[in-house]
């Protein structure tokens, strides 16, 4: 991990009932995956205020992953539908701000889909790594990586 390659920081918001449990299952099943994602647990993806995503990106996250129950499976009936609506709107806004599509992702992951947690996280880490740091804020990085310079200040 400390070989100097860019290690993206990804904040994940997982719903308690499906995706968080799936991440636990990935653990119980010892499915190894990239260590770049840090999970914040919410009771429901419907709790996800778009401001959380913006706050994470502003404070140095290079990507944000949102995980909820599959449509129809929400523990609270339709919280995930609400999350999807907010997500769609948020994505348009982020796009206008020049934030690449791959950086913010919504996935439906059921409690039994530990393998999907592994796949999605590995995939997303690779994608965000390819994009490079988001650099909305200058933050010191571990292991002597060069501090990211926000693109707007590069000149």
């Amino acid at each position: 991990m400390s070989d100097g390659t860019f290690q993206p920081r990804i904040v994940a918001f997982f719903c308690n009932w499906c995706t968080y449990t799936a991440a636990d299952l990935a653990g119980i099943s010892r499915m190894s995956y990239a260590a770049n994602v840090r999970v914040v647990r919410l009771m429901c993806s419907g709790r996800l205020d778009p401001q959380f995503v913006v706050a994470a990106l502003r404070q140095g996250a290079d990507g944000v992953l949102i995980g909820g129950c599959h449509p129809g499976d929400c523990h609270y009936q339709v919280g995930n539908h609400k999350a999807l609506r907010r997500f769609t709107l948020l994505k348009r806004l982020l796009g206008q701000l020049g934030i690449e599509d791959e950086r913010v992702r919504l996935e439906w992951i059921a409690a039994s889909e530990g393998d999907k947690v592994q796949r999605v996280i590995n995939e997303m880490v690779a994608q965000v790594r390819a994009l490079g740091p988001l650099g909305l804020t200058a933050i010191p990085r571990p292991h002597g990586e060069a501090a990211a310079v926000p693109p707007c200040c590069a000149e």
């Binding site: 991990m1 990935a26 995956y33 999970v39 009771m43 429901c44 706050a55 404070q59 523990h75 339709v78």
Partner: protein, 667 residues
């Protein structure tokens, strides 16, 4: 155990505990490093690492530090909060602080078990600990709401699992509603002849229990009924049961079968469900002689009255008790229960999905369940094992693992097929003297007396061919194969392909989740594995609980299992339900939403968000208000509130922002 000195700071005094979990965490995470890091975080007074935080000494450590260092916030970095959050909250409470002044960082399931690199695991653990520390300072003291538990229990499914759970609960004095979708209880077990390995008659041990269900004063039995809707929460479920019309008034029918005899169809004409079509029934029928309740029903799909409207209704005339009622409709019944036991069972694998075994193509190919009916003395042939053309088979091949251990169908082992194949081999040999050939991948006979039963079969001269059968076919190589079915298989013990000509092929079909497991799962708000089996809360420590409190699992709906395991699990589910009900109350997680009325603009955005109608608009105050008793704590309204007036306990905006800041703050 490392102890780091106090870091005197502000009013918030945090203790951080990093668990080794033996080597589960410490093997991958440098716990000393994380502890040292935690000690450097603002507000942290004590940071320690310890072998097993969930053990008594681990919990005692927290309580001692609360006393000695005046801690008022606790962070434990260990396993998933779904595993031990309750344990540590209790420890905090016993130490004298509010149990919600606690936050957990999941560095086992989310870190040490899923990260290959030690440095990366340590770094990730630091981040999660930083997040928990950052968040816990803003925690508020909360009280759990206590809600009384409804004393009755719903059991869904009337197979042996549901029967046993219902009887156990009823015997303890609980009022039980047993709902079964078929016209009779008994499930698959009622179709078996003998049970392995003791070869005791299935009916002899099951039918007394079925009668007990019928007679038990504490059990309300609704057959031919399905759960239509479930709402509420642990201790307080409202359930709607739909009773399907059987066109026979249950209370009047005495099961005399006079209507069946009188039916204008002189002979049975339609495939009899109970015997898998090996026998015929009339449109009005009794599912099987010991059906419970002993009440007939009319199948509108085949009844002349329903199909043409021109039937002389001989059945109705024949009934002395005037029990036939062609005008019956669906009836919806509402019940209130405190706990639910789901025991909806399995469905046998559809053998036609493996076309190379010729089921549905060659009349000599049977499923194991059909053969159960053939060997059963009360079955369609009275226990005579005869083929569809009337011959008695001289050679019988039993193919194991049909729809099990197969990447094309189901990867899992169905657990019961080896044993029931042995049982059928024994019974068929005993009754017909036929040569029996078992085609198996591995013989799996773990269980009390099971291996001994296998030994007995070996001595009885049943043939065992180790190798998965390739096909069942009727093309022949030699004259003695003419007119026979040929099973082709690689015998892996002799290293050759063999062709075994037989008269009868028995396909030992595996167990699958019910076709509608997906809908049932949604109804009860529980989860399924990929294969459709209902997911237990924890595979080892909570095998009959689900992620929805108050809903318990019994029997094969949770995964393939044999009768002894099913009964044991049904007893466990009943006991769990009893424990919940006898406690008399549940404490609800205080993660409900609330409205800061000062900030509320009265826009009503939140009201439309709530699927439980927990938010109402207070007209004179022009604000929204949450009814905490109805709120389930999803927080969807909170995310929608444009003025941040709606908040959720345990998940306030500030707490989540703190957590985000924390998770990104580490260096």
């Amino acid at each position: 155990m490392a102890t780091l000195g106090p870091n005197q700071g502000d009013a918030v005094r945090i203790g951080v505990y990093i668990c080794h979990c033996g080597i589960n965490i410490a093997g991958k995470v440098d716990v000393a490093d994380v502890t040292q890091f935690a000690a450097s975080l603002p507000g942290v007074v004590v940071a320690r690492d310890y072998k097993f935080m969930c053990s008594d000494p681990g919990q005692e450590l927290i309580q001692q530090d609360i006393r000695e260092h005046g801690l008022n916030r606790i962070v434990v970095a260990s396993c998933s909060p779904l595993m031990h959050e309750a344990t540590f909250r209790r420890a905090a409470a016993e130490g004298g602080i509010n149990p919600f002044f606690f936050q957990m960082a999941n560095i086992r399931e989310h870190v040490s078990w899923v990260t290959a690199d030690k440095a990366a695991a340590t770094e990730k653990s630091r981040a999660l600990v930083a997040a928990a520390v950052s968040r816990v300072g803003g925690h508020e003291a909360l009280e759990r709401q206590r809600v009384a538990v409804k004393p009755d229990v719903l059991v869904v499914g009337g197979g042996i699992a549901g029967i046993h759970a219902a009887l156990t609960l009823a015997d303890s004095g609980k009022t039980v509603y047993l709902v079964e979708r078929e016209p009779t209880i008994g499930g698959h077990m009622a179709k078996f002849d003998k049970t392995f390995p003791t070869l005791d008659c299935a009916a002899c041990i099951l039918t007394p229990k079925m009668s007990l269900v019928r007679q038990h004063p504490n059990i309300t039995l609704w057959t031919y009924a399905e759960v239509a809707d479930v709402s509420g929460y642990v201790g307080n479920f409202s359930v709607t049961v739909r009773r399907k019309p059987r066109y026979v008034i249950e209370d009047r029918c005495v099961g005399c079968n006079a209507c069946v005899e009188a039916c204008v169809f002189k002979e049975g004409k339609f495939a009899d469900e109970f015997n898998y079509g090996l026998a015929k029934r009339k449109p009005v029928y009794m599912p099987f002689p010991q059906a419970t309740p002993s009440v007939v029903l009319i199948d509108p799909a085949t009844c002349l009255h329903f199909k043409t409207g021109k039937c002389k209704q001989a059945c109705k005339a024949a009934c002395e008790r005037d029990a036939i009622d062609f005008d019956q409709r669906d009836e919806l019944v509402e019940i209130e229960v405190g706990a639910i036991v789901v025991a909806t069972g399995f469905q046998p694998f559809d053998a036609e999905r493996v076309p190379e075994y010729g089921y549905g193509q060659y009349p000599g190919v049977y499923t194991s369940l059909e053969v159960e009916r053939l060997v059963n003395a009360s079955g369609p042939t009275g226990g005579e094992i005869t083929l569809r053309d009337g011959r008695v088979p001289k050679a019988v091949g039993i193919i194991h693992c049909v729809g099990s251990r197969d990447h094309a169908t189901n990867k899992y082992c169905s657990r019961v097929c080896c044993m029931y194949s042995l049982k059928l081999a024994h019974l068929v040999k005993e009754r017909t003297g036929a040569e029996i050939y078992n085609f198996y991948i591995d013989m799996r006979t773990p269980g009390k007396g099971y291996e001994e039963f296998y030994d007995k079969l070996l001595e009885e001269g049943v043939h065992f061919i180790r190798g998965r059968a390739a096909e069942v076919t009727d093309w022949t190589m030699t004259p003695d194969e003419e007119g026979k079915l040929v099973i082709r298989a690689e015998d892996t013990l002799i290293g050759a392909v063999r062709r075994i000509p037989v008269d009868m092929v028995v396909l030992s079909v595996g167990l699958e989740a019910q076709a509608d497991a997906g809908e049932v799962r949604r109804l009860f708000n529980i989860s399924c594995s990929h294969e459709g089996w209902f997911l237990e809360r924890h595979p080892k420590l909570a095998p009959v609980s689900t992620f929805t409190d108050g809903v318990f699992l019994a029997g094969a709906c949770q995964g393939p299992k044999d009768i002894p395991d099913t009964v044991a699990q049904a007893g466990a589910a009943a006991a769990e339900a009893m424990a919940l009900i006898d406690k008399g109350y549940v404490e609800l997680e205080p993660n409900t939403a609330f409205i800061d009325e000062e900030r509320c603009s009265g826009c009503k955005t939140c009201i439309a968000m709530c699927p439980y109608s927990a938010i109402s608009f207070i007209a004179d105050a022009r604000v929204a208000r949450v009814n905490e008793a109805l709120c389930k704590g999803c927080g969807t309204c909170v995310a929608a509130c444009p003025s941040a007036a709606a908040q959720q306990h345990l998940f306030t905006d500030d707490q989540i922002f703190d957590e985000i800041a924390g998770v990104l703050s580490y260096v």
